[in-house]
């Protein structure tokens, strides 16, 4: 029984028609909203060596965090080892460095993998990191079936926005469907893809573009998995989404509500899903990194709180709140703690979690939800036409002709011009600029991280059985040449032999090739 601060008793929801939990879930997935289960406060962390990030994980869990979320450094995200020529200067900087299974063992040391859920933000080489996680669990006596969590594994938005691709789109989508098939069969608690609008928005897209491109990618993965022989209801219940919470409060709430409605409608009507869980758009949200300002950085605490509230009122399943110092560097521990505390204040002090979809029924909120759906449907129609009735082919075509990236860049430039012309006010940047406190203490990763990691990699290379590594990589190449073989098993074998991430990627590149985008401005 919930009540207001002043003691007024509250129902789980208020309604004069559609209720939370009713198809098409515009008003939320559950009639009890957050009363049954609060959102997961999942704080993204990763820097330095695996041991450094492991310490941050333990600190976040002690502070009341309820899930882990791993940021990898740029070489890891790009499938390159720490000793690759262009890894210099990037090792352990923007996330944690992982080269081999040994790093993954350090990263999750002392963490009960069957008790926490883990999110891993990795795409191009997702299958390799997934394999490492499975083997680490196995070595700790935890069965893969008991592992819960999410791997981002969303390559399509990489070509559109984040640009961390390795192989060309089609073989990359094969790796994704291989992972979906693997977790569907063996890891029932795992979410094999987190279809992500976050990066599309950060690259400059509008809210409607974020919504539409993301869901279109979701439809594309559904089509790819069905093409690979799965039934939609086998895997759709484990698909999840990842959205951005930006600064225009009501537009964001409308976007979240629209996402649920569109996904449910399309999965049911176009893809024939019958399991209600297949129709439910579950999503993680992160506040908008691109909205944070380097000027007067403490103002970002307020921005983050309001963005986070839009995600909560929009019904997010989990949430990462950005730290106020992230326009300048990776967050300090203090800044990350304030960000987590912001979520705890929302959850326990504001009453925002008491009633499901509390904004539902407001004229403006319903209108902007409808408008988001309308704009997204226009974009879907275009993609569908581009693909001659296939969303997957339409998405491929939009990647190939650069139209996704071009439209996002147009929107980014429009925004920038508005800020520069003063038509859009950003507090502390182009208005109210007095009293900039400057920079407080920032987290800096020293060069010794890189040296430590290189030494670690050298150690692993010298101790492993090179013959076993070579054999496992040869088997992987052979399997990659056969489009029908699921690559997860040979990748797990290579990981177990302590093949490096870069070696596994190179083996796959020898078959799949390397993607180079056609750069247009």
């Amino acid at each position: 029984m919930a009540e207001t601060m002043s003691g007024i008793p509250l129902d789980p929801f208020y309604s004069d028609g559609l209720r939370p939990g009713d198809y098409p879930y515009t008003r939320g997935l559950h009639p009890t909203g957050y009363r049954g289960k609060l959102w997961t406060m999942r704080m993204f962390a990763g820097f330095g060596t695996a041991a450094d990030t492991n310490a941050r994980f333990h600190a976040l869990l002690r502070a009341g965090g309820t899930g882990l979320s791993t940021a990898f450094d740029m070489p890891t995200l790009m499938g390159r080892d720490s000793d690759y020529e262009w890894s210099e200067g990037e090792v352990g900087r923007a996330g944690v460095a992982v080269d081999t299974l040994a790093d993954m063992e350090d990263l999750f040391a002392g963490i009960e993998l069957d008790k926490v859920t883990t999110s891993m933000t990795i795409n191009g080489p997702a299958a390799i990191l997934m394999a490492m996680y499975v083997v680490v669990a196995e070595k700790n006596g935890v069965s893969r079936a008991d592992l819960g969590g999410t791997i981002q594994n969303d390559i399509l938005k990489e070509y559109q926005a984040q640009k961390e691709y390795i192989f060309p789109p089609r073989p990359s989508v094969r790796l994704i469907t291989d992972l979906i098939r693997f977790t569907t069969a063996e890891m029932p608690r795992w979410h094999p893809v987190s279809i992500s609008g976050y990066h599309i928005r950060e690259a400059g897209a509008t809210a409607a573009q974020e919504l539409a491109f993301t869901l279109a990618n979701g439809f594309a993965y559904v089509e790819a998995a069905v093409d690979a022989g799965l039934h939609v209801d086998d895997f759709a219940p484990r698909l999840s989404f990842f959205f951005n919470a930006h600064s225009d409060f009501f537009e964001e709430v409308g976007k979240f509500r629209a996402a649920r409605r569109i996904w449910a409608t399309w999965l049911k009507e176009r893809y024939g899903a019958e399991n209600p869980k297949s129709l439910m758009c579950r999503f993680h949200t992160q506040t908008a990194g691109a909205s944070l300002t380097a000027q007067q950085p403490e103002n970002n605490i307020a921005r983050v709180a309001i963005q986070a509230l839009s995600a909560v009122l929009g019904g997010t399943q989990s949430l990462h709140t950005d730290s106020y110092d992230e326009a300048l560097a990776l967050p300090t521990e203090k800044a990350a703690r304030i960000a987590l505390r912001t979520q705890q204040i929302l959850a326990h002090e504001t009453g925002a979690a008491s009633v499901a979809d509390p904004l539902g029924g407001a004229h403006f909120v319903e209108w902007i939800t409808d408008e988001m759906v309308r704009q997204a449907e226009e974009i879907f129609a275009r993609i569908d036409q581009l693909g001659n009735g296939s969303m997957l082919e339409g998405v491929y075509a939009g990647i190939e002709d650069g139209s996704f990236a071009g439209e996002i860049a147009d929107a980014a430039y429009r925004y920038e011009r508005e800020v520069n012309a003063g038509r859009r006010i950003i507090v502390g940047v182009n208005e109210f600029t007095e009293g900039d406190g400057g920079e407080s203490s920032l987290l800096s990763i020293g060069h010794d991280t890189e040296e430590l990691q290189l030494k670690r990699l050298e150690q692993v290379r010298s101790r492993r059985d090179d013959k076993a590594v070579r054999a496992s990589l040869a088997a992987l190449v052979q399997a990659a040449e056969q489009p029908d073989i699921n690559l997860m098993a040979p990748i797990i074998d290579a990981v177990r032999a302590y093949a490096t991430e870069g070696e596994i990627v190179a083996a796959l590149e020898s078959v799949f090739g390397t993607y180079v985008e056609n750069a247009v401005v």
Partner: protein, 147 residues
């Protein structure tokens, strides 16, 4: 765009417009800022040679030579600037290329002096306005031309 039109175009000795090579060096894929800068410079009458992602010092040097570039603009968002920027400066010097290097992106103020002493011509940090971007590139080109 008032931010640019209000910026007085400095008289410069170039007959032709200033030519800028824009690139991301190494692995970092954050190209939103670089694309915005490319359009901002173009709108200000500067010629942009956009190389885009995953460039190496060699590919940037080659582009500068082929395109007779006046300025190299590199965007960095992954805290690798203290390694990557000096690497670019050295590669240009080794190639006897007298082209100033301007860095933009997420560069904390405390690193700016280090970059300048390593030979970087200018640093445009987070929140730099369009007018600042244009005037910084023009100033770098002018300074190099005056050498």
């Amino acid at each position: 765009m008032s931010g640019i039109s209000s910026c007085p175009a400095p008289a410069h000795p170039h007959e032709a417009p200033i030519r800028v090579v824009l690139a991301k060096l190494g692995l970092d894929g954050h190209d939103r800022g670089l694309k915005v800068v490319a359009r901002t410079l173009r709108d200000a009458g500067i010629e942009v040679i956009y190389l885009g992602l995953r460039q190496t010092t060699d590919s940037i040097v080659a582009a500068c030579e082929q395109e007779d570039a006046d300025v190299i603009g590199l965007s960095m968002h992954n805290a690798g600037h203290l390694t990557l920027a000096p690497r670019m400066v050295k590669a240009a010097r080794d190639a006897a290329l007298d082209v100033p290097v301007v860095i933009g992106g997420i560069v904390p103020a405390e690193d700016v002096a280090t970059l300048i002493s390593a030979g970087v011509a200018a640093v445009l940090g987070p929140g730099a306005s369009a007018a600042q971007v244009v005037s910084t590139v023009k100033a770098a080109a002018l300074q190099a031309a005056g050498r």
